[in-house]
């Protein structure tokens, strides 16, 4: 029998019906069996009501995006079928609660079958209607050729502490769904999932990877204001920081959040805040203060659909310019754009070192798909986590400060980086101000001083390319080079692999650092390509324009934009690339 190396599954219903936990139970169980998961939730900013769904890609090898087509759709209401059935492949199936007498719409692929199963009724028979999700999981297990016990450990974890009875009832509900499906006497051989190679990987969202990265990097103070899709970061740290003596403060707004972060960093801790577009906008004045006072802060911006409140629960990459250029005046800063949860973790560790090494704000720019998609990831390397607090004043230097004299916190050095001291340290008294200042921090608005101090701050990154600024895969002399940023890495890679399998020469460069911009390396990749396509999730081509701003040149460079609120899919990228080269449109 031919077995699937991957399968795509979706569960949908009304928000508040437990759709998330169904998807999570399913994904976690399969992840533990060694399958690789990529799961993405569609939700709206309402809590109860409104359609929601969780789409899970299960694969025997690592995938970093959703699959193009769906194999199985579980539906708790007709709306779910109407909105999602068109995503099913030919021969795909819908399994729906018979309670609402489900029907298939017209726009489905050929041979899509609907199985109407009494989810609610079977759940009630086994204890309570809310277990209809478990019944649905049982039906999936049968179709996919899994044991009905495939999620037993997760169920045990979830309910074991409450009572064994609840565990047993849930397991019985799963079994009831499993049996009901087997009673259909249908052939589900095209849904059988090949066994996974046992492998230990974690399942997490990008936000958790960032938060865990911050915890590991020694961040101990986090002032923040809740906002989708960033809130998970503060919610994770509020659970963990107390165990290491740290603190999360929910501030009155994002202005307070970044100012408090600056205060905490000045006070001697590693501190961060996290937000999304609207909050980033409110932080701009304080970001300038951090740049001007050379205070190391880390700011996470989980991009969502803008402008204004925009699409609060949808994907977009439209804050790049805001992050780079949103503050007034000119300051040095680092902007990192990781593309996987692993990179979120390591980039966050790096971010704190960069912030303290270069004494400037560091922004980690993720996007909604990266922040919230739940992915299988390789366990992180403890040994990678090194804490480098940068140039700190030595005890000798502090002892050498004469009584009544101020410490040269802004001493002009060759690399522009001056020694830091923290309040409380004897000998370290100096002034800090957002006004242009001299070496001891006293206001000095003289023209020549301003030039010197601007140069001191801005030259910190002269000719620097941070390690890992670009990742590349594909052919060395591609006909088309795709340049992407953020979570699109998976969709682009998959499209590139497919084209290469068809004998087409393509390359893929993913940009991981927007500032300092890796212009030199990127130009080298571009020089080898016939065409360059810059793929990004926004309406104006911010990455494209950033490349031009940095003087990157190519005779055939075009933009590939998507801004409907959903991330790139592999087939979209594939089709666009094919469409770009006349010879490829057989």
């Amino acid at each position: 029998m031919h077995m699937l190396q991957e399968l795509s599954w979706k569960v949908g219903g009304q928000q508040g019906e437990g759709i998330d936990s169904t998807g999570k139970t399913f994904a976690t169980s399969l992840n533990r069996m060694g399958y690789f998961i990529y799961s993405y939730r569609h939700f709206s900013s309402r809590i109860k009501g409104g359609h929601t769904n969780d789409r899970v890609r299960i694969s025997t090898v690592r995938k970093n995006s959703l699959a193009d087509e769906l194999d199985i759709l579980l539906a708790f209401d007709q709306e779910t079928i109407n909105l999602n059935a068109h995503e099913l492949r030919e021969g795909g199936i819908v399994i729906a609660d018979s309670k609402f007498s489900p029907v298939l719409p017209d726009n489905v692929a050929q041979n899509v079958h609907l199985y109407s199963i009494p989810f609610t009724k079977l759940a009630e028979e086994n204890g309570a209607a809310i277990m209809k999700n478990m019944v649905a999981l049982g039906t999936s297990a049968y179709v996919m050729g899994l044991s009905p016990d495939f999620c037993a450990p997760v169920i045990q974890n979830m309910f074991g502490r409450k009572s064994q009875k609840i565990v047993d009832q849930n397991m019985a509900a799963i079994r009831a769904g499993f049996d009901a499906m087997s009673g259909q006497n249908a052939d589900f051989s095209s849904f059988q999932l090949a066994p996974a190679t046992p492998d230990h990987h974690l399942l997490m969202i990008g936000n958790e990877a960032v938060a865990f990265g911050a915890l590991s990097a020694g961040a101990r103070v986090m002032p923040a204001y809740p906002i989708t899709p960033a809130s998970d970061i503060m919610e994770y740290l509020i659970k963990k920081l107390p165990s290491v003596g740290g603190v999360v403060v929910q501030t009155e707004d994002e202005i307070a959040a970044l100012n408090m972060t600056i205060g905490a960093a000045y006070g001697g801790t590693r501190a961060l805040t996290a937000t999304s577009g609207p909050g980033l906008a409110l932080m701009m004045e304080a970001m300038g203060l951090a740049g001007m006072t050379e205070t190391p802060v880390v700011i996470i911006d989980t991009q969502r659909g803008g402008p204004s409140t925009g699409l609060p629960t949808k994907h977009e990459q439209s804050d790049m310019f805001a992050a780079l250029f949103g503050n007034h005046g000119e300051i040095p800063k680092v902007v990192l754009t990781p593309s996987t949860p692993e990179e979120c973790f390591y980039a966050t560790v790096d971010a704190f070192n960069y912030a303290e090494k270069y004494q400037c704000p560091v922004i980690i720019l993720t996007d909604l798909a990266l922040s919230l998609a739940s992915q299988s990831v390789t366990p992180f390397d403890y040994n990678y986590v090194e804490i480098d607090r940068g140039n700190l004043a030595t005890p000798e230097a502090l002892a050498a400060v004469e009584p009544g004299k101020m410490f040269k916190r802004y001493e002009r050095t060759e690399d522009g980086i001056s020694p830091r001291v923290f309040p409380g340290q004897k000998g370290g008294i100096h002034h800090v101000t957002g006004v242009e200042h001299n070496e001891i921090g006293r206001p000095d608005e003289a023209t020549n001083n301003h030039i010197k101090m601007m140069d001191k701050r801005l030259n910190k990154f002269a000719d620097i390319e941070l390690p890992g600024s670009i990742s590349y895969n594909g052919d060395n002399d591609p006909e088309v080079l795709v340049v992407g940023v953020g979570s699109s890495v998976g969709a682009i890679d998959e499209a590139v692999t497919r084209l290469r399998n068809q004998g087409i020469k393509v390359g893929h460069a993913q940009v991981k650092v927007l500032s300092p911009f890796p212009a030199k390396s990127l130009q080298e990749y571009m020089n080898r390509a016939e065409r360059v396509i810059v793929a990004e999730s926004n309406a104006t081509g911010q990455l494209f324009h950033l490349m031009q701003l940095h003087g990157l040149q190519h005779k055939a460079m075009t933009s590939f934009l998507k801004y409907d609120g959903t991330p790139f899919m592999p087939k979209e990228v594939e089709a666009h690339l094919k469409g770009a080269v006349p010879a490829w449109q057989q």
Partner: protein
């Protein structure tokens, strides 16, 4: 131990001669000098305005931030290092205009910091626009026909927000001001000392003379009980916000820092921030 002298530096303030802020500077220095503190144990965090320059005029760690945000900045410093004596300072525009939100929330959060507002009922630095504490009818550059907005009552707002130490002083009485500031610093929680600090250049109405005529010293009421919030609120309303002295104190409520779960007596800035491999693996295993 340091005395008042150690808290002075050689910088000459760029305030106009006669500006009320000199007295506030002197009172802060005297107060710090009386508290057995060394200059490096003190951080003065200020906003933007003539008054905001004060952090540069005291020999201590000083941070002159952006307009209206001294309180979030000061609270961040305190979170990082609870051993520091943290003083936030600024003007009426800074604290009750652009920074009003932070003021109310800082009061309610109740971190152990001291907030000193130099209230001159005008925007000094920007040369004479009306402020949130300017009276109804007050004429300023931006109210040529007289102010058509009501003045805010910072004292009532502080009480409503749950302040745990509230005092009001006057630049003319440095001794009283010093005492109010000292008590505020000693108070375990958020303290506000609002100071009538005349702007001699742009406010020709609320002058030293005007304040002398209008303020109502609380010490003329021997029965006044500053631990009674209702009495405090009534007195503030009765005196139209012009009472001076210790208005209210609540010494029972613990400071924010004492309520943070897991927060150590050691300043966060002094903790070892490395996590062990065991801790790391344990945290990671929760994602399996």
């Amino acid at each position: 131990m340091a005395t008042v002298k150690e808290f002075r530096n050689e910088v000459r303030p760029n305030w106009c001669p006669g500006c009320g802020d000199y007295a506030v500077q002197a009172a802060i220095q005297r107060s710090l000098g009386s508290l057995n503190l060394e200059p490096e144990q003190v951080a003065v965090i200020s906003g933007i305005g003539c008054s905001g320059r004060i952090s540069g005029y005291i020999n201590a760690y000083g941070f002159h931030g952006v307009h209206g945000r001294s309180l979030p900045l000061a609270q961040g410093v305190k979170l990082a290092n609870r051993d520091l004596t943290v003083i936030a300072a600024g003007g009426d525009g800074d604290g009750f205009g652009i920074g009003m939100g932070h003021f109310m929330h800082a009061a309610r959060r109740n971190m152990n910091i001291t907030y000193i507002v130099m209230d001159n009922q005008i925007y000094g630095l920007t040369k004479g626009q009306h402020s949130p504490t300017s009276a109804f009818g007050f004429k300023a550059k931006t109210t040529p026909a007289g102010n058509i907005e009501n003045a805010v009552s910072p004292l009532q707002i502080a009480l409503a927000a749950g302040v745990t130490y509230l005092a009001q002083g006057f630049s003319h009485d440095v001794n009283q001001l010093t005492e109010l500031i000292t008590k505020g610093i000693q108070h375990k929680g958020f303290s506000l000392i609002n100071v009538f600090s005349p702007c001699v250049t742009y406010n020709k109405v609320n002058t030293y003379e005007w304040y002398k005529e209008h303020i109502v010293p609380l010490d003329q009421f021997p029965e006044y009980d500053p631990t009674n919030k209702k009495a405090a609120t009534t007195k503030v309303i009765e005196t139209d916000g012009l009472c001076t002295g210790l208005i209210y104190e609540d010494n029972d409520r613990p400071a924010f820092e004492d309520l943070i779960p897991g927060y150590q007596p050691t300043p966060v800035a002094d903790l070892d921030i490395h996590i062990t491999q065991d801790q790391f693996e344990k945290f990671m295993s929760e994602f399996a």
